[in-house]
């Protein structure tokens, strides 16, 4: 048998047993979704429409995107029926 340096198996099989591969997609973002908690009616539309499913329920008050992975597409802001989410340029957050 030859070496199993990269593959555990004889053929091209990949295991999900180890931590999954993950890209730092939060890095791609140029705009950030910012939630106005007072306007949020807790409908969850932002959460269901988020392509990467990173808009999370924060208690029972509002929803918020996980900025580690949010790509800043703006779907949540667009779909919010109350306009509670605003996309703000990342430049605004540079300290």
């Amino acid at each position: 048998m030859s070496s199993n340096h990269y593959f555990k198996h004889e053929g091209p099989w990949s295991d999900a047993g180890d931590p999954l591969m993950c890209t730092d997609t939060g890095d791609w973002r140029t705009r950030r979704p910012v939630v106005d908690k007072d306007k949020c009616i807790f409908c969850g539309l932002c959460a269901i429409y988020c392509p990467i499913q990173v808009v999370e329920m924060k208690g029972d008050t509002h929803f918020e995107a996980d900025l580690d992975f949010c790509k800043g597409c703006g779907i949540c802001a667009k779909e919010c029926p109350k306009g509670a989410i605003t996309m703000i340029s990342e430049g605004e957050f540079v300290s």
């Binding site: 048998m1 030859s2 004889e10 053929g11 091209p12 099989w13 990949s14 999900a16």
Partner: protein, 408 residues
């Protein structure tokens, strides 16, 4: 072939195609998928009949094309099943992307390919060009000489393909028309004997399979070193298959009483000074001519290639070393080399054969019969080469025009 024990009652007169279908049935595959093509069609007709009568308990997928046949058996094999398919010529070429994928995925698929021509000139006729067109797909290629060997090789193919140390697809080739439709006596083994022969596989570790809910998938991107690792594993598994095939042939002989010699079969080569090298159905005729000429005191032998991929160069050089001249008979073409494909491959090992000279014969393409007269002619030319006479490097035996106009 050395036959030691044969129960007369088991011998049936059947075609090569029927032998392949019966062998598949005896191997008890889980999934069979195939599409008809001349001259293979009878194989799937027979299997369909076995399936319809309940003799064969398998999932039979009557696909809409060869490409799907290979894709279906690939998936079934990766899921853990024993599989079978059969094709020929254009069918083999139409499934070619999946043929490559099967090999790369290391799926132990077993199939028969009934050799037929593949050039754009429509030729519903015998020839090994389909085998040559797919030779470096990464499959193990075995070639049968007669209907009995078709049956035996399919059974041996399962042992080889599914062996834990090998895990490679195996294609059993036999000449279309000459073997596919030729009826001859075939010893059909008992189911229990075949079960016993294949039972070794059950005692081996389980290969990786695709199972619902398991966090495991097949079809990974091999990136850089990963890709090379997989390719290297493939190459080394191919190399291992040579010795494994010899072992399996021995074990087959112990159980079934028939032995063929593994990668190559040597026929009356021991004291031979000249040898013909061939494969497939032509070998029967060559053996008959050798027997006749041996009566006259000619020291001639035959080396028959049974395993074509991986190329059995060690076995071949061992068998051919020290002979004066070797005539290589090809049923296909290798462009740019003028000589036949097996000839050009063997040529690479010429220096290891202690001065044996090589000569190429192209014959048997497009259903041309490799007759006894043709074989005698090839033997004469090989003898001339051994005697130091001037012999063309390549001869189209049944097409003299090639030798006067374009030939070397």
């Amino acid at each position: 072939m050395n036959t030691t024990t044969t129960t007369q009652s088991r011998i049936k007169v059947i075609t090569g195609n029927a032998a392949a279908a019966i062998a598949a049935k005896l191997a008890r595959p889980d999934v069979v998928a195939a599409y008809p093509i001349t001259p293979q069609t009878e194989v799937i007709e027979q299997i369909s009949t076995f399936h319809a009568s309940g003799e064969m308990d398998c999932e039979l997928i009557t696909v809409e094309g060869e490409n799907s046949a290979m894709n279906a058996v690939m998936a079934a094999s990766l899921a853990g099943g024993r599989v079978f398919t059969a094709s020929s010529s254009w069918g083999l070429v139409f499934m070619y992307d999946a043929v490559l994928a099967v090999a790369g995925a290391r799926a132990p698929v077993v199939m028969v390919n009934v050799n037929r021509e593949t050039p754009g000139i429509i030729a519903v006729s015998s020839g090994q060009q389909d085998m040559i067109s797919t030779r470096d797909a990464g499959w193990i290629f075995l070639i049968a000489e007669d209907c009995q060997e078709v049956l035996d090789l399919v059974l041996q193919a399962y042992r080889l393909a599914e062996d834990y140390d090998i895990q490679l697809p195996v294609m059993v080739h036999y000449d279309g028309f000459f073997l596919s439709y030729l009826s001859e006596g075939v010893d059909i083994p008992e189911q229990e004997t075949v079960d016993q022969f294949l039972s070794v596989l059950k005692t081996q570790p389980k290969r990786t399979v695709l199972h619902p809910g398991e966090k495991l998938g097949v079809g990974s991107h091999g990136i850089l070193g990963g890709y090379m690792e997989l390719r290297h594993k493939h190459v080394t598994a191919m190399e291992r298959s040579k010795a494994k095939f010899e072992e399996i042939d021995q074990e087959f002989a112990d159980i079934f009483g028939r032995s063929y010699g593994g990668q190559v079969e040597e026929y009356r080569t021991d004291d031979a000074d000249i040898v013909l090298l061939g494969s497939g159905s032509m070998c029967g005729t060559i053996k008959a001519v050798i027997d006749e000429q041996r009566e006259k005191g000619e020291r001639i032998g035959l080396v028959k290639i049974r395993m074509y991929r991986p190329f059995p160069h060690q076995a071949l050089t061992a068998a051919l070393k020290g002979k004066k001249a070797i005539g290589v008979v090809d049923r296909s073409l290798a462009f740019g080399f003028d000589g036949g494909p097996i000839y050009t491959e063997l040529k690479a090992f010429e220096t290891r054969m202690d001065g044996a000279k090589l000569v190429s014969f192209i014959d048997g393409i497009a259903n041309t019969d490799i007759t006894k007269t043709n074989v005698e002619k090839m033997i004469q030319m090989t003898r001339d080469l051994a005697d130091g006479k001037d012999v063309p490097e390549v001869t189209w035996v049944s097409y003299p025009d090639a030798n006067t106009k374009g030939g070397k």
